[in-house]
Symmetry: C2
Subunit: 401 residues, 2 copies
């Protein structure tokens, strides 16, 4: 693929502006972000599978029903989840205020919130924040938007890629946030992606689902699926390509570029996991199916025992095979090989006498690779997570207060 990484984020594609301002909703940091497309855009979203969905999630699903959107408004500080009818009214008010300031329709505005559950957003601070953010929209606003959506994140997450499609240059850019309450089966936490590609809503939705399953849905920090997770893409067509209408080679090129971007953002989330001291990549080889490989990889990625062992730089591979065994996949324990980095520690389900010096060296690194070969099929799946440290407990023992 002719893919090129470029600087920038949601404002890298043609026709997008963004901003981020401090409305002092809860914290003394930037807390309101807006992303705006000058042209109407096709749009798609993937949202949390949690039965308890925040008001902005319910509203955004409604607004995406027609496959069109033109702006995204996000606040950090309050999740607007478990907030009843008042919370739903607040989400609608966020869309209405944004639409009015941009002279677009409210149902072309996507709304997202992140923060504490169960408390109402103070609208006397948020509405002026939206007005200010609209006033500050700019083609270099991607970076401040990435900052404004952060909560416990320690670094803003942003990326952009470019590729050629039938002689035209396509750009896809994105921002993301999230470092706790992160688990699969959803578009992990918040991520907003923009593109100047021209693509039909149904194709955009299909590409986004494909990319989400292999990127954000393969990241976990603590195994908790949030009430607010949202991944939304807007594609405004300003790159001038022939509109992608079917699953042809142009679709595949777009989908693969989108996947690449989502993987970059997803890995940034794992790297910035709450209290993380190490980034962990888990590769499952030769699974019978994608679903099986995903289950095995995520069982390992979610195991507190594996993650504390990696934090302690302890080559306790027994905890890895234990997680493989309870993953719910019909594995054959007698076939499982396990590697820490390039050191094979178990073969055919039994321990090998490996070099403790070598594994210590591997585990002392800030990036740890774990490979499991199931020898059951030909599907390879990768997941990303982080280790589990004292600081995870510290961060989460008094987040709310």
């Amino acid at each position: 693929m002719n893919l090129k990484y470029i600087d920038g984020s949601v404002t890298a594609p043609l026709g997008f502006k963004a901003s981020g301002v401090n409305a002092r909703i809860k914290y003394d940091k930037k807390d309101v972000a807006i992303i705006y497309s000058e042209a109407p855009a096709t749009a798609a979203g993937v949202f949390t599978t949690n039965k308890v969905k925040a008001a902005p999630v319910v509203l955004s699903m409604e607004h995406l029903a027609d496959g069109l959107a033109q702006a995204v408004v996000v606040n950090s500080g309050y999740a607007n989840a478990c907030t009843g009818a008042d919370g739903m009214a607040i989400a609608r008010e966020m869309a209405a205020a944004t639409a009015e300031g941009l002279s677009i329709k409210p149902d072309d505005v996507i709304v997202a919130s992140t923060g504490v559950i169960g408390q109402q957003i103070p609208m006397d601070r948020l509405v002026p924040g939206i007005t200010q953010a609209i006033g500050e929209l700019g083609v270099d606003g991607g970076d401040v938007a990435a900052e404004a959506i952060m909560t416990t994140d320690t670094i803003p997450k942003k990326a952009a890629v470019q590729f050629q499609l039938a002689g035209k240059t396509m750009t896809i850019g994105g921002i993301a946030k999230g470092s706790g309450m992160i688990n699969p089966n959803m578009a992990t936490m918040l991520s907003f992606v923009t593109s100047d590609a021209s693509i039909a809503p149904a194709m955009l939705k299909k590409a986004l689902k494909y990319a989400a399953d292999r990127s954000f849905n393969m990241v976990t920090v603590d195994g908790d699926t949030s009430t607010n997770d949202s991944l939304v893409i807007l594609a405004n067509g300003l790159a001038g390509n022939l509109r992608i209408e079917t699953e042809d080679e142009n679709f595949t090129a777009f989908r693969n570029a989108l996947l690449e971007l989502c993987v970059i953002l997803a890995k940034m989330i794992a790297r910035d996991g709450e209290g993380a001291t190490k980034f962990i990549e888990i590769k499952v080889r030769q699974a019978a199916s994608f679903k099986d490989g995903q289950k095995v990889a995520m069982a390992i990625a979610n195991s507190n025992l594996v993650k504390t062992a990696i934090f302690g730089e302890d080559a306790n591979w027994g905890r890895i095979i234990c997680a493989v065994g309870y993953s719910g996949v019909n594995i054959d324990p007698g076939k499982v090989d396990i590697y820490l980095g390039d050191e094979k520690v178990a073969a055919a389900g039994s321990g090998l006498s490996f070099s403790e010096d070598r594994t210590r060296e591997i585990l002392q690194d800030k990036e740890v690779n774990i490979t499991i070969n199931l020898h059951l099929g030909d599907v390879d799946v990768t997941a990303w997570t982080c280790d589990f440290s004292y600081d995870y407990v510290k961060i989460n023992a008094d987040y709310r207060t």
Copy 2:
């Protein structure tokens, strides 16, 4: 029920002896336990659902196929899991050595191991330990047996109950170990139960499954299902009751007494969870089914975010409803009520303005009760866990080395 708690454990029922000795298999502590019934006993077991089953689990399932057993041999230090054909031979050798010393058949010996995965048990130390343990068998040996099966446990776990059945006194006693790698869908970690009741194998199996589902399977410490979990019961009939052959009122009395004993032991495991500073009881009210209630209760009990919040004494009920939402149960978010202790913090899925002073007081206690009313049916289910502290991370960061 005419149930009475009595002192003692596996040696409380008539005809049982036990012992625990230090064979220095790995640690300088008691590490070999034997439980022996003078009379042949009906027996049943519930074992880990992990696809990766330790050699002693595979062997014990084999030995229980005829519903009979007369002795249990247990070692701590090594799990004998992922140890290949050699590990299987070692498990058989443990049964053979025990059978020989007791002059019973090897397939009437149940074998269990707990400790590190993937390393072979040094038999030159274990076999003399078994011989010594047989020599020390006694009717007051339940306490030392409870000590010998411990690994990271900080207190031995033991209990006994007595009840009347058609004019006869029945006794059930048990020991248990486990404080990490604990999660449902199995007979959590190791527990051995004895009784002098006379009961047919099929009825014993049914009673044990019923009790396990409502006790050990409702306890979690860290969400990891071990390769070695085993719950085994031996009932030798020496109490002289008319043998329980059908699901009559005597069966129900026995089953309920067994459940009571298993709940006591299961709660001891949660209370002694690795690094625990608080014991947490989670009551799910008005679930549509037992399975639904179990899923909701265990989702909360396994949530790192809920458990770190309780450690931090933070009334962050949003994390509780979040876990309810991702439990996989078809709940109605608009019906969910949540209580911390006796303080109602959310009603019909939305936050209430509760007293922070009162919830702080409740959370400062060493025992925290969480109640969730789903308003969907008439089944109540209870789960037990502990909070998640710095010490959990510390204990598990360097367990192996």
